[in-house]
């Protein structure tokens, strides 16, 4: 019952709104159902399923607003939650930044739901994991992995007649393969909205190849190197940079998007020519909700075009202050790339390091977006267009802003977890120390 149709959701939201006595009222309804299975040491460790639905009410009297949520849906409960939100609103201090709610909006038709994913059950999950475990057994490696599928919906309605409904599915799979002695480790992680694309056997084989190939890693000196970042490694770095696209922080002078002397770097060329980043709720491989949390429509938005910052995201309040377009932050982002495969990129590299993924990335300096973290689960030395040998993991200290200025080549983009990014060849990537971790 956690996944409601558009009509079912609309009926509950209408009913809840009918109890409102506030000046303005917004009602949201969201639910999800799905399951997961986790394994380690070549056996299942935990598994479970979940089903949740929740209704949220935001009521406002003038500039005072309050929010309450509930997970029961009979008339008495709906009435109770509306009253609670109204009581909270009357107790809250006036919020000078409160914005009147939006009227009806036109939303794109969402594309994120796939029946194949919604149909996954405990037996299907167990079968998929069994395929992965078979690879481990056949190759005499130890597997630890996680498979999770989720179906979700969200709907919004308000007292000015706005209504939106969105439904989506996702399946995520990751597996780490290790040699029994712990001397080699390989990893893959992929997500899809269509479970029909998930091939746990093929993905586990990639991890197994990396595990076997990373045995006998040699230590090389830390320093600045040309690196080829696989899409997962690239998205690990990129995932940390989008907070900076918030216009208010930039205007307030506390972001790498802030301009010396005041203002933002909107319109400036901040990255290499090859960098173009956009978001699109209708992207077939990376869809997201066609409206934002506060009911603003989501549409295709170019954030960076050929290295130039084209858009920053605004709250409705800040957009009004700055007389700017109130672009909501995107659900998910896509970075464009080229046509080269990872193999082509390795072939074209005289000297460099191939990075499978990064781990434990943390912000070191907000000013420059300097990040630290480590390579993990397969790091290799490239010379004369070939992988020569595995190398020990490095700690890096590098900023994605600097990294996206040092782009040599971008390959064919692919979806990792919640991003589509290309493999990247980057010069002068800064490794600062060696790690003994495998």
């Amino acid at each position: 019952m956690a996944i409601l149709s558009k009509e079912q959701a609309e009926a509950i939201l209408k009913k809840a709104l009918s109890f409102s006595k506030a000046d303005e009222c917004t009602v949201t309804l969201g639910g999800s159902e799905g399951g997961n299975i986790r394994y380690a040491r070549n056996a299942v460790s935990t598994a479970g399923d979940s089903s949740q639905m929740s209704l949220g009410v935001t009521s406002a009297f003038g500039k005072r607003s309050g929010t309450a949520t509930i997970n029961e849906f009979d008339d008495a409960s709906l009435q109770k939650v509306v009253r609670r939100a109204e009581e909270l609103a009357q107790l809250a201090p006036e919020n000078p930044e409160y914005m009147p709610i939006l009227g009806p909006q036109n939303y794109l038709e969402p594309v994120g739901f796939k029946a194949s994913t919604a149909a996954m059950n405990p037996d299907k999950r167990a079968d998929d994991v069994a395929k992965s475990l078979k690879v481990a057994k056949d190759s005499k490696l130890e597997a630890a992995g996680y498979l999770e599928n989720t179906t979700g919906f969200n709907a919004v309605m308000n007292s000015k007649g706005l209504f939106g409904y969105n439904r989506s599915t996702d399946v995520s799979f990751s597996v780490t393969m290790r040699t029994p002695e712990g001397t080699g480790s390989g990893y893959v992680s992929k997500s899809y909205n269509d479970a029909g694309k998930l091939d746990t056997l093929a993905l586990t084989k990639i991890a197994a190849t990396k595990a076997a190939g990373s045995v006998g890693a040699k230590a090389i000196e830390p320093g600045k190197y040309t690196v080829i970042l696989e899409p997962l490694a690239a998205s690990d770095m990129m995932g940390n940079m989008f907070g900076g696209f918030d216009a208010r922080n930039a205007d307030e002078g506390r972001s790498y998007m802030s301009k010396k002397g005041g203002g933002t770097r909107l319109g400036e060329k901040l990255f290499d020519d090859k960098v173009t980043i956009y978001s699109d709720p209708l992207h077939p491989d990376l869809p997201f909700s066609t409206f934002s949390f506060d009911g603003r429509p989501q549409q295709r938005t170019v954030w960076v075009d050929k290295g130039v910052v084209k858009k920053l995201s605004y709250t409705r309040y800040w957009a009004q202050q700055k007389n700017a377009e109130a672009t909501p932050p995107p659900g998910r982002v896509v970075m464009e790339g080229g046509n080269s495969s990872l193999e082509d990129m390795i072939k074209g590299t005289d000297k460099g390091i191939l990075v499978t993924r990064f781990w434990y990335i943390r912000l070191v300096d907000q000013q420059t977006l300097l990040l630290t973290g480590l390579t993990r689960d397969g790091t290799f030395y490239i010379e004369n267009g070939k992988i020569q040998f595995p190398i020990k993991n490095f700690r890096f200290n590098e900023s994605p802003v600097i990294m996206l200025n040092n782009v040599e080549e971008l390959g064919r983009p692919e979806r990792t977890e919640n991003m589509i990014v290309p493999p990247m060849k980057i010069r002068d990537f800064t490794f600062t120390s060696l790690s003994d971790a495998v």
């Binding site: 997961n36 299975i37 380690a40 070549n42 056996a43 299942v44 935990t46 598994a47 479970g48 399923d49 979940s50 929010t67 309450a68 949520t69 509930i70 997970n71 909270l88 107790l91 809250a92 201090p93 405990p122 069994a130 130890e142 630890a144 780490t176 290790r178 990893y187 989008f242 907070g243 918030d246 922080n249 307030e252 002078g253 506390r254 972001s255 802030s258 301009k259 010396k260 995201s313 709250t315 659900g331 998910r332 781990w359 434990y360 943390r362 070191v364 300096d365 907000q366 000013q367 420059t368 630290t372 480590l374 993991n393 700690r395 900023s399 600097i402 600062t432 790690s435 003994d436 971790a437």
Partner: protein, 537 residues
Amino acid sequence: MSAMGVGAIAIPKSFLLGREIDPLRAAYEAMDVAQKKQLADAALNAARAKGATYADVRIGRYLNQFVSTRENKVQGVANTESFGAGVRVLANGCWGFAASDNVTKENIAKVAERAVAVAKANAKIQGEPVQLAPQRGFGEVSWKAPIEKNAFEVPVKEKVDMLLAANAIAMGAGANFVNSAIFAVNEQKYFASTDGSYIDQDIHRIYPTFNVTKIDQANGKFDTRRSLSTPMGMGYEYLSPSADEKVTGVVTRYKKRYDMLEDMKAAALDVAQKIKAKSVEPGKYDLILDPSHLWLTIHESVGHPTELDRVLGYEANYAGTSFLTLDKWQTKNFNFGSKLVNIVADKTQPGSLGAVGWDDEGVKCKQWDLIKDGKLVNYQAIRDQVHIIGEKESHGCCYSQSWADVQFQRMANVSLQPGKEKRSVQDLIKGVSKGIYIIGDGSFSIDQQRYNFQFGGQTFYEIKNGEIVGMLRDVAYQANTQEFWNSLVDIADKDDYRLGGAFNDGKGQPPQSNAVSHGSATSRFNGVNVINTARKI
């Protein structure tokens, strides 16, 4: 893409699980214990009837409150309440788990049946059956955190007034921006198992925090200083300042009572000094680490690698494994650190985040040694793991973040014992010719086997010839865990012992949050590699 600003304070994910409730009547529609027992028995009986060889049920009400402000504005007041039940079973030698927020006798029995079905589906691909350490039942028992003032009974207005008063102090002292918040948590947990335990517990946590930002617009620079508070397993009494609980020095730090207004003033002055401070010269330094900083290094480099599930590979696909492999422990002579390194795991320490009476699989909590005189002596293990280290009883450190998630091994409080000899912080600093004194935690990163780490901090003071000579910036230190703990040469005594802690330590898939404290006294580490983190973009 997150709209969360650099200075903003994120709402912990665990806060978003529940439904919101009226803050003025935050409390408790607490369910009668007799009623919980009936529900629990319905679940346990249904699990047994379907063939479970063991079952436990957790019926929980989780209350959270989050009050956040910036400058002179209240940004949010959210109260959430989440109520439901989770049932874990062993069937055909395999674990199964299911949960629901519909807690009736009929439905909880169905949840138990679903858990058995999950266990049986997975048993088909299970290797070795689970070996569960025996645990005696405790009958009907209860435990309550020894709080003095329930944070959920303090009016929201009182909290808002304090935060706004604190913000005004920062702005008055020259800050450009300030964010502040109070988080409060109350877990009302009822546990029952087929071993014959019925355990009712009431747990409280509180975390007041702020972040002050200073901008130098002409130079395009900004910097921040976060509060020196720490999350505690306490009630609102943590926010009642007390002179006895203060540690004076280069800046005032706090034991079991926090003075937010005083710390806010100090932070505004600190950040003004920090933004103009000298950029550190990279190289080897002796580090004097304050407990407000050292807790996080202990957490990452001692707490995590001594978790047995990581050692065994259960976290290989996510949090990672551990360099403290079983062969090292088996030698009984593995040199983890210098002789001064004595580290205990503890689930009972009053005021700590990890303190409870029983863990989430019905094991009575205790304290035990992890590192003794520098040697690795034990791990942190739960019921389905202790047989691997030849023990018959769980250590009692199993935890789940809510009724909706399955319980698993989580970190106990892990603390460095203070020095036995009378030593003050000043005594420690006196002996340093080239060093850095670090206060507060900052950036943190460690590899997946816990060898190589890098830590920042909030404020950094240069020490020359036994004296503090000024503030530094752009400081981070990198080290290897074993080398670092072997470089520990001096620890202050128990008068300087304080707790720090993590409110939201993540582990597991799907990820779960755990709260844990780490105690220490100020400590000196010799010859640690310091890097300069300044860059130009």
